[in-house]
């Protein structure tokens, strides 16, 4: 199963929690093992990521059934970042790290459905058809959702860069 990294990345963004992500991945691997005969075609990665998604949905539903309310993602980082320059400057590794956190934070703030298609397309390099299978939506919806997600992320990113052109370090 050569897609454990992809499964973990995807699960991290679905669950927003490292330990939940690990649980989801483990469950998905077992389900994939048990259901391998159900795989049609050669598209193992999309098939596996679809299982990851289903595991996440199942486990999230179970968690709600137990009356468990997940903690919100870390919010106390926000103020810290506002002090850090985000001016693009590829020569500086520290500035690059700030950019990193900025993008990760902006991604985390996107609606789930936007984040999902962005991760599947830009990080996991799935095609539209595969994304449609994993997200369980028509291919036309993949296209429009991806366009909206990119526009939203770009807009927030640009706003972020403009907001703090010369923040003091």
């Amino acid at each position: 199963m050569p897609h454990l990294d992809a499964a973990h990345r995807f699960a991290r963004w679905l669950t927003r929690s490292p330990s939940d992500a690990d649980d989801v991945v483990q469950e998905a691997v077992l389900r994939a093992y048990r259901g391998f005969h159900g795989l049609r075609g050669s598209d193992v990665k999309a098939w596996f990521l679809a299982i990851v998604k289903n595991c996440h949905l199942t486990m999230a539903t179970q968690a709600r059934g137990r009356g468990y309310v997940p903690l919100p993602p870390e919010t106390d980082e926000r103020d810290g970042y506002a002090m850090v320059a985000t001016t693009p400057g590829p020569e500086s590794a520290s500035i690059r790290r700030d950019e990193e956190r900025t993008l990760a934070r902006l991604m985390a703030a996107l609606p789930d459905e936007h984040r999902e298609v962005l991760i599947l397309r830009e990080i996991e390099e799935l095609g539209y058809r595969e994304i449609a299978a994993v997200a369980d939506i028509p291919i036309g919806t993949v296209m429009s959702r991806l366009a909206r997600a990119r526009a939203a992320l770009k807009e927030r990113w640009m706003a972020e860069l403009e907001e703090q052109p010369d923040a003091v370090r």
Binding site: P2, L4, L30, R34, E125, M143, A147, W157
Partner: protein
């Protein structure tokens, strides 16, 4: 007035989802439309940044061994179930025969064929780890190569004269690589370009071989190990090191053609190195 082509259709082109004919039309259009060129650059920038910044969050070693252990338990249950069905204790070795693991498809056999927990963990970790590890360098190189094929991105200094190209790098890149023209051998020098990746200004020598463009990237050796040759998204990447420089040739030519250029550059470098 905003261009009607920007939006989903441009993105479908960017994502490689248009058929060849539509893609060719789109390329023509992009050549004429500054707005679409700008939108394409933004898309590329966003993708590069996302892959660079968010692409590393792979499975931890802990998760790998945890998953392998869970698989191990699962397959042990399977083996017991299989033994129960057979109704008798078979000789020990047949516990490992593929036939006894009735639910194990070929795909999993590499994981399951191990004899005990340790072996299963080891083989699973190998299976999981080997093909997945996303080397950010691959993405950088392929992205830089693809970007270079966009109109007006290929060449910064256009020259078939290596004595023009090489000095140009001195002022525009962090390294000054070997530059040769192998027109006689079928690899025409078409120019040079400065590109940014791996946190430095890399020098790119551009060769043309038949209809194919070959970008030869070079950057300073950081004494890390070079990746093995690989193929990403249909592009071949051949790595080698000469002196204190790393080289990577990227192209959609065949491997043989790429290897030939590599050996040409290596041989020429050995003969003509200047202090």
């Amino acid at each position: 007035m905003p261009c009607a082509e920007t939006g989903s259709r441009l993105e479908a082109y960017f994502d490689g989802e248009l058929d060849a004919l539509s893609a060719a039309e789109m390329e023509r259009h992009i050549g004429e439309c500054a707005e679409c060129r700008g939108a394409l650059e933004d898309l590329e920038k966003l993708r590069r940044s996302l892959r660079r910044d968010l692409g590393f969050d792979g499975a931890t070693p802990e998760l790998r061994s945890r998953v392998a252990a869970a698989l191990d338990r699962e397959t042990a249950l399977d083996r017991e179930a299989a033994l129960d069905r057979e109704g008798a204790l078979p000789p020990p070795r047949s516990r490992l025969a593929p036939g006894s693991v009735t639910r194990a498809p070929a795909f999993w056999r590499g994981v399951i064929a191990g004899t005990g927990g340790v072996a299963v963990v080891a083989s699973a970790v190998l299976l999981f780890a080997a093909p997945v590890a996303i080397n950010p360098l691959f993405n950088d190189l392929v992205n830089a190569h693809v970007r270079s094929l966009m109109p007006a991105h290929l060449i910064d200094v256009e020259s078939t004269d290596r004595h023009t190209v090489k000095p140009w790098f001195a002022g525009h890149a962090d390294v000054s690589p070997a530059v040769f023209d192998f027109a006689a051998e079928g690899y025409r020098l078409v120019g040079g370009r400065a590109d940014y990746f791996d946190r430095q200004r890399a020098a790119v020598v551009v060769y043309q071989h038949g209809a194919h463009i070959i970008n030869v990237f070079s950057w300073a050796d950081d004494h890390g190990s070079l990746p093995n040759d690989t193929t990403r998204s249909g592009w071949h990447l051949a790595f080698w090191r000469t002196g204190n420089l790393n080289y990577c040739a990227v192209s959609d030519t065949g491997w043989d053609e790429l290897m030939k250029l590599q050996s040409l550059i290596k041989d020429a470098g050995d003969g003509a190195r200047t202090p």
